[in-house]
């Protein structure tokens, strides 16, 4: 069992857990993930590592309530525990001095991009970050991302905060601007990563995305997370989760993310009925 030491509600549906997991904390690096299982009957799902504290032996994850598992997870309070917490899994994000790096994040992936932006900056890069949300009340960690970036652009789809529109608009402006961009890192919902990659492609700026397909074991054993990258099948859990966004077969990935849509819906509905929740 792995105890939740701190819980923070970043928005009504996005939560932060700081979890007691010294083994994972000792080795965690930016871009890696863990596999979590809420309870004995729970499924295994991957969550990206948002932060870690090697001295305290803790690992921080941020998640959004989507289906049954994340909603069940969100019922847990500080002091309670999750059944499994395995990691750090996957290959860490490649950090190097590229000159200028643009870090683009959408929604709850802000939590994922912060350690990457921090590491990129520590490697000597100028870091320009773009964070996008649906609307103002969903904005979180603006300060944190600002503190590890040289410039920060905030967008909301409805214009209630920052610039109105999606993240690809300021991304394109930066690419068209005078400054040379050495690398783009784009993390968020699959569709946002796809369009960020499509935006950068004509400019020939290598764009790293962090994929989030369905996983079970997270160690290369089952192959459900397979994805086509440059026409070659890769396992996201061991070969990724970071890949070259210009090489990813986005349509295949999005189809594979829908495999259990019906079951996920049924599972959530049953759980909501039995728990009297929305």
């Amino acid at each position: 069992m792995y105890q939740i030491l701190t819980r923070e509600d970043l928005t009504p549906e996005i939560h932060l857990f700081e979890i007691d997991a010294p083994g994972v904390a000792r080795k965690a690096q930016a871009g890696q993930f863990i596999v979590i299982r809420v309870d004995e009957k729970g499924e295994r799902i991957p969550l990206t590592i948002a932060d870690w504290n090697r001295e305290k032996g803790t690992v921080t994850v941020v998640f959004m309530e989507v289906g049954k598992t994340t909603r069940k997870l969100a019922t847990l309070k500080a002091g309670e525990s999750v059944a499994s917490f395995a990691g750090p899994l996957g290959v860490p994000t490649h950090i190097e001095n590229f000159g200028t790096v643009v870090c683009v994040a959408g929604g709850f992936a802000i939590a994922t991009i912060v350690p990457i932006a921090r590491a990129m900056r520590a490697a000597g890069n100028k870091v320009i970050s773009i964070m996008g949300f649906r609307s103002k009340e969903l904005v979180f960690w603006e300060d944190r991302l600002r503190s590890v970036s040289d410039e920060l652009i905030v967008t909301t789809d409805d214009g209630s905060y920052g610039r109105k529109g999606v993240v690809t608009v300021p991304l394109k402006e930066l690419l068209e601007g005078d400054g040379k961009i050495g690398r783009v890192v784009a993390i968020g919902p699959t569709v946002m990563m796809k369009f960020s990659s499509l935006t950068t492609q004509p400019f020939g700026v290598k764009t790293i995305v962090s994929l989030n397909p369905i996983m079970v074991d997270g160690t290369g054993m089952c192959g459900v997370c397979r994805v086509s990258v440059g026409g070659v099948t890769k396992f996201t859990c061991v070969d990724g989760p970071d890949f070259d966004g210009h090489q990813v077969d986005w349509d295949e990935l999005m189809a594979r993310q829908r495999i259990y849509l019906d079951e996920e819906k049924r599972s959530l509905e049953l759980w909501q009925q039995s728990h009297g929740r929305r």
Binding site: F85, G87, G220, M221, G223, E252
Partner: protein
Amino acid sequence: MPQLDLNRVSMPKQKPKARAKNFNEVALGYNEKHALAEATRCIQCKKRNCVEGCPVGVDIPEFILALREGNMPEAVKVLKSKNALPGICGRVCPQETQCEETCSLAKKGAPIAIGRLERYVADWELNHQTDSNPELAPATGKRVAVVGSGPAGLTAAADLAKRGHEVTVYEALHIAGGVLMYGIPEFRMPKHIVQAEVDYVKSLGVEIKLDSVMGKISTVDELLEEGYDAVFLGTGAGLPMFLNIPGENYNGIYSANEFLTRTNLMKAYLFPEYDTPIKAGRNVAVIGGGNVAMDAARCALRLGAGKVYIVYRRSRAEMPARAEEVENAEEEGVIFKLLTNPVRFLGDDQGWVTAMECVEMELGEPDESGRRRPVTKKGSEFTMEVDTVVVALGTTPNPLVPTTTKGLDTTKKGTVVADEETGKTTKPGVWAGGDVVTGSATVISAMGAAKRAAASIDAYLRGQ
């Protein structure tokens, strides 16, 4: 000399129609009467051929003698002194090519049903509280790390603990047991039996650390630096092989590992009570002819699939699965499409598999495996409608540990190079055994290798 009794006592099984709809154990095991009758047939040969046929050297005539004399605690003790996992081996060992093949009565066509008797003794112990724990050797103060808690890891851990060493097992998944938990289905290997045998290994003083992905949470070099005197790698063959033909990433196409892990480890057959889902459609094709293919096909039936096919490119004679498993699958309604090879998958615009294009094969000259090589029949293309495909072509070792361990040699196939007799690898202080060395093989061969490695580790730790 008394007259030979050649009437092998058969073991009761669930009826095919009923069992194809549930996950309860198919083979029900002997009762006392069956066991005594079968044990009485044993002629207690002086030349112990059966023991020679056993990869872990169980004293078979002795445990059978104790059983038929009604001394069950003694039967348990004899069995467990060589085999820490008898309830598992009694169920999944291919006895017909091991102890039962070398049994003196095999020549007469009626070998003693050693596996069934082993299972009977192991199950008897589960239902009767006895103190069967062996005396442990005095503590040596030496520490051994075992990586992986499958058949090899558990066996090495048990043997090393008995010899007085302090053993820690690192397991990547959330449950110990490896392939016994994630791979072999409940109806063939009930999980409470595996759990009981894991608990037995723990009762010897072995600590099992779950959720510990070696190569990620720590490396083998770090284990050695941090005070372990030796490391045993029993990480198995966990990486699935695919066909590498067009369309293999369509939705509905599983590796056998995924299909079985969802079903067995995650208990998807109890969805939505358990959270992990699985889909078994109207037409399921399982590609391959080994035990894993049979397990996947039989799981698919039990998950409520319509038609379930085994698609295999050679003929029945070349199938690597145990004959018993092929028969079980056939009785339950699995349809065999032999001498058939898929060449590509077709899908719909939503990314779901809808059909599989195949070719017919015929057998040519023997290949390097000694089996006749399948050759494509010209113009034999045809299409099978499928909505679920399970690829069961075999597995290779997971590279996570080998690639993060300095000085550990591997072969082109990704297996770890280790001495066959001792399990010693090319890295000092590191031993390996089981599927990580041989590629996918049997539970008992992994246990045999682990036993030999444990003896070698023990000698090393005692400075011999």
